[in-house]
Subunit: 160 residues, 10 copies
Amino acid sequence: MTRDQLTEKILDIKREKGLTWKQITEAIGGMSPMLVVGALLGQMKLVKPLAAKAKDLFGLTEAEAAMLNEVPYRGMPMPPTDPLIYRFYELVMVNGPALKALIEEEFGDGIMSAIDFNMEIEREPNAKGDRVKLSMSGKFLPYKYYGAEQGIPEYGFKEE
Amino acid sequence: MTRDQLTEKILDIKREKGLTWKQITEAIGGMSPMLVVGALLGQMKLVKPLAAKAKDLFGLTEAEAAMLNEVPYRGMPMPPTDPLIYRFYELVMVNGPALKALIEEEFGDGIMSAIDFNMEIEREPNAKGDRVKLSMSGKFLPYKYYGAEQGIPEYGFKEE
Amino acid sequence: MTRDQLTEKILDIKREKGLTWKQITEAIGGMSPMLVVGALLGQMKLVKPLAAKAKDLFGLTEAEAAMLNEVPYRGMPMPPTDPLIYRFYELVMVNGPALKALIEEEFGDGIMSAIDFNMEIEREPNAKGDRVKLSMSGKFLPYKYYGAEQGIPEYGFKEE
Amino acid sequence: MTRDQLTEKILDIKREKGLTWKQITEAIGGMSPMLVVGALLGQMKLVKPLAAKAKDLFGLTEAEAAMLNEVPYRGMPMPPTDPLIYRFYELVMVNGPALKALIEEEFGDGIMSAIDFNMEIEREPNAKGDRVKLSMSGKFLPYKYYGAEQGIPEYGFKEE
Amino acid sequence: MTRDQLTEKILDIKREKGLTWKQITEAIGGMSPMLVVGALLGQMKLVKPLAAKAKDLFGLTEAEAAMLNEVPYRGMPMPPTDPLIYRFYELVMVNGPALKALIEEEFGDGIMSAIDFNMEIEREPNAKGDRVKLSMSGKFLPYKYYGAEQGIPEYGFKEE
Amino acid sequence: MTRDQLTEKILDIKREKGLTWKQITEAIGGMSPMLVVGALLGQMKLVKPLAAKAKDLFGLTEAEAAMLNEVPYRGMPMPPTDPLIYRFYELVMVNGPALKALIEEEFGDGIMSAIDFNMEIEREPNAKGDRVKLSMSGKFLPYKYYGAEQGIPEYGFKEE
Amino acid sequence: MTRDQLTEKILDIKREKGLTWKQITEAIGGMSPMLVVGALLGQMKLVKPLAAKAKDLFGLTEAEAAMLNEVPYRGMPMPPTDPLIYRFYELVMVNGPALKALIEEEFGDGIMSAIDFNMEIEREPNAKGDRVKLSMSGKFLPYKYYGAEQGIPEYGFKEE
Amino acid sequence: MTRDQLTEKILDIKREKGLTWKQITEAIGGMSPMLVVGALLGQMKLVKPLAAKAKDLFGLTEAEAAMLNEVPYRGMPMPPTDPLIYRFYELVMVNGPALKALIEEEFGDGIMSAIDFNMEIEREPNAKGDRVKLSMSGKFLPYKYYGAEQGIPEYGFKEE
Amino acid sequence: MTRDQLTEKILDIKREKGLTWKQITEAIGGMSPMLVVGALLGQMKLVKPLAAKAKDLFGLTEAEAAMLNEVPYRGMPMPPTDPLIYRFYELVMVNGPALKALIEEEFGDGIMSAIDFNMEIEREPNAKGDRVKLSMSGKFLPYKYYGAEQGIPEYGFKEE
Amino acid sequence: MTRDQLTEKILDIKREKGLTWKQITEAIGGMSPMLVVGALLGQMKLVKPLAAKAKDLFGLTEAEAAMLNEVPYRGMPMPPTDPLIYRFYELVMVNGPALKALIEEEFGDGIMSAIDFNMEIEREPNAKGDRVKLSMSGKFLPYKYYGAEQGIPEYGFKEE
């Protein structure tokens, strides 16, 4: 059994039972719906109590629940051909240089973590058409200047 | 003169004058610093009054200011090799499937616009290490079902 | 079941029953044949009443009809190797720069939507050989200049 | 001198003189603005009388005008990273399969020519936001069934 | 059933019956062996009477014969890894610039059609080793200068 | 000096002097115009007497003539974006499988040489539109079955 | 049945019977072990008597033996990810320019054939560690200068 | 001035002065030689006091020293064609799956940071040939399970 | 049976039996857990006694154990999309130039072997968060200067 | 100065002085002509006495000679478009699987070194056309089974 086969099975059951992601993530609960959906689509891990709930909800085998508890090989093929996902890719492609310039000026030499990271998605009502609102927050991780000697900062935080 | 040459010139002047992006975006003002920096890095357009301010700040020629007022050929090479920008790419690669599932369930068949779109970036103080906070909001654009007949929705909003 | 498997099944039934796309799109109706065919080939969604008609026409299961009602992962592999589709790709490759220049001069900084978009295809009789006529119309979406201050346009429409 | 250098020079002069594409294409005239702009951007050829007008308008040398009269090596890098051009690419990627199915059913085995082809672009006023209207028409070219024997069609037009 | 599966089945039967392409193309006849073989390998369409003959020869089902009558999604993966096919690819890669220069000088601005096109292949006896002789002929298709005004050629034939 | 720079210089002189390829290949002579043009475009070598004629015709330096006498690093970037050259690429992509099947059945296990190879290009007058005629002939090179023992053919010619 | 499936079956039998390549190539004989192994791995053809021996050794069907007698679609995916094969790829990547310079200076304008080509592989005992010895020999094939006139060499052998 | 131009200038001066990396990194000091060399080659940032020392050592301008103090656009082209660097790439390609399995089992769901990371390189004397010793240590960063509810771990550390 | 199918089977059994890699590598033993895990994931070979232990542990067939004793086609697809493995790829991409500079200065012209190579992975306790510690050591292999004459070093060790 | 610029300069001087590679490699001597030519083309290093000879022969500066003494960033772009070099690439692509099978069976688990490696190239006279003879020999490097316990081989030599 591959993770793709498990994802396909879960989507088959979701379709047959007429379940929505909302119903599924409420039934499994435990953490952000984004992560639970991500796990069921093969990109995230479900910790044991959540994998057990998914097992009950979808009528999975023990082995299938165990697979949901494993860390998958993450990442979808790129560039995305689907327009919805492509728009996010485009945002990186167009705003990447400005993000780099502004984050580095504000924080110093480092990155925004994609691991110690939260994302929330909400509907933002708007008279001209509702908007998709994404709030993201990732820990700033400064580059380590290893072997730093006295007087030299050990991490790449903003220099005075 | 290519846009890349203009970007290089602007960065040379920024370096020689010891300007920060904060000083630059305050001097030019007019819209989000993200967009002003994006324009100076060759990804966005500056409307005429802002291009005029950039001309003064950097001592540009008329032709260079006119170029800043043009819409550039947007987009940087992908995949990004720089770690800071790559993390955003990775977020799309790993969360793409869940974003698609959740946005489509909430809004219907369509996309979040990458054009009618805002982004704000802030420092989020945190005892365990400050965080980079990104707030994004894009208009939901439903797919048009052209040729829709009576009783069929004209746009791909959420079906009841 | 994957969407590709459903497409293959639908094409098998179409072939066995000797159906034409014209017969199929007339039977399903509801919106442009282009969109109905797109959905049956795995690129578009059929709203529920249309999915129900497709179910009857092809003798599909409930789950298969439900899958037609889902938004597929859109996009075929690129570049297209098939000559018919390649010609459209070539038109973008050769005319892209001129389209960008003319649309931006006429409308301002933005794009033609590929989502709020219609396409019609017709046979254009011609003594030297009939022609394929494509009429397309997409909403112009101006770039949003977020954080726009007083006196600065909020959207990238044509500057005076 | 390469064609790219000539394009860059023309754009420099256009910027310095504050010319618009509309002024340029009216001054040069002779054929569709789309083609004239395409030629000045290095994708099309200008026939001699038009190249001569371009020479006058931009103050080009004889050799530069001669280069505008040459057929360039056509085609821009793909996939397009610029959002405006990408939307056209996406339209091919998403609608390619349906276009192939419908054109082949209507016309037979062949392609829409990208050479014996017209394109017109217009602003379509619309209360919900103006639209970009593209009208395209290309000659249908049926595949040649060479070596066709008696009773077998010589070209791939629609079979009865 | 996919076209690849049909091709594989036909090759299995060819192998089991010990048929040669010569026997097959003589039995099916109707047009150039190159096209008939192309169709059986999934690159061309067989018109109905030829598909019927292929059905008899290979003992295919009605649906399989109908599939042979469909226009396939043409094109093999590139670059070709097989040496025989690579040599043709190399001929394009090495001679492409000269072909472009000479065809455009002789005919004007346009292309050699790959659709209204014949190809013949023959053995050319030669004392130093027989040669593969390929004769190709494609209709010259001049670029259309749409919107051409009086005095401007409508098509890109050779300028005087 | 690179070969590309020499090609650019030659094209500059050709343009300034208003030379045609026909005039150039007649002046240089010695072998097929296809090869002479190929050499001037950086894909072929000119033997010394021909390089000397090119030197006179274009007013080249000794070193430039010597460079024309060198074997260049052959091959243009692929896939070709230019429509004229792409059509040849497409012919390989679509007809490759049939060419392989038919050449191997007629000749045995081997290839058509792309080195011991001739190509001629002619205008083929035709009432429906003149055609580009290409005649190609390449030596068949059978695979060598090295280490062949008695009774086993040493080369991959057609088996009886 | 595809050639890959046949290769997989042969490897399964080899493993089950505990056969070595040495035993296999001795049993089949007829030509270099390199070629016989190549054929069993799907890259070469076995002439009929050798295919018959392979049939006996592996207990293949008639159709499978017939497939071994066919010329496969040659070539593995590149670049090779396996370190053993990559080292050969690297040798081409690093030594390619010098090989081109030296072969062309010694032989003239042409190539070393990869078709009329032998390769032998041997163990070369060495006190510091045994070495893999590869001896290769390919016929030099000079470029044909077609249309060569009197006084011009017809082939690209070394010029005096 | 681009960072590549600065790197080229620094290497020119290094070569002209006959400096070694050892001399350079001792003169600049402040942190690991790996990082200092990385900065001079355009992959790392030098904090101000170190950039000042580099300025003195190489005779750079103020602007050049300021550029060394900037965070560069990191990352070299991949895959590496140079054998020395390729071996590291190969180690990732071959050992990636085992590294993932073992790190996740030992630490839980997360990654080894490439930012809060040290690397040391040493010569390891060995009678059979000295060895290159690399010691690396990166902080383990557990995935954040955002929206974690009571009883669910907030981070992807090893589950009991 | 392919190696991928065997890997999938082993992972299925691991999951069903609830085995950890630690238990597996202790049961099989014989060499570094990194290598044993690598072999079970299809990247390394298990020598016969270890393959026999794996056979017992997982209940494999003789043929499956024989396959574990074979050298697999090594290498996973690149670039890695999984964040854990990508970080190692990034380390090569960012530190490659400095590694090359420092290894060559210390050792001379050559590479660090990826074959005669050890790797150890350990948990490094740290108050700010435990770290992943990797110790690697590869034999330095100097380039061979073949054909070296008297006075010229035969290998590319550091020059004095 | 980049290595490419130095290569271009050396080739310019070679052309102007009418030098052959034979004259050059005899004048520089010291090791195999293949390596000396490789160094002058930017793929190998020249040890100091040879770099000094190259300096004299080509009239280089001290800095240029020092650059020849540096290890270059090796590797040309792949796949090679030049037919001469492509044939070597094809040999790897077609014979890679058999080389892997035979080397591993004869030597065990490991690779042929591309570093401790010799290559000789000779003209092999032959009545049917002279042949290019390449003799290569690379040290066999067995995989290290690190952490090998008693009774387990430490290196991947052929198992008994």
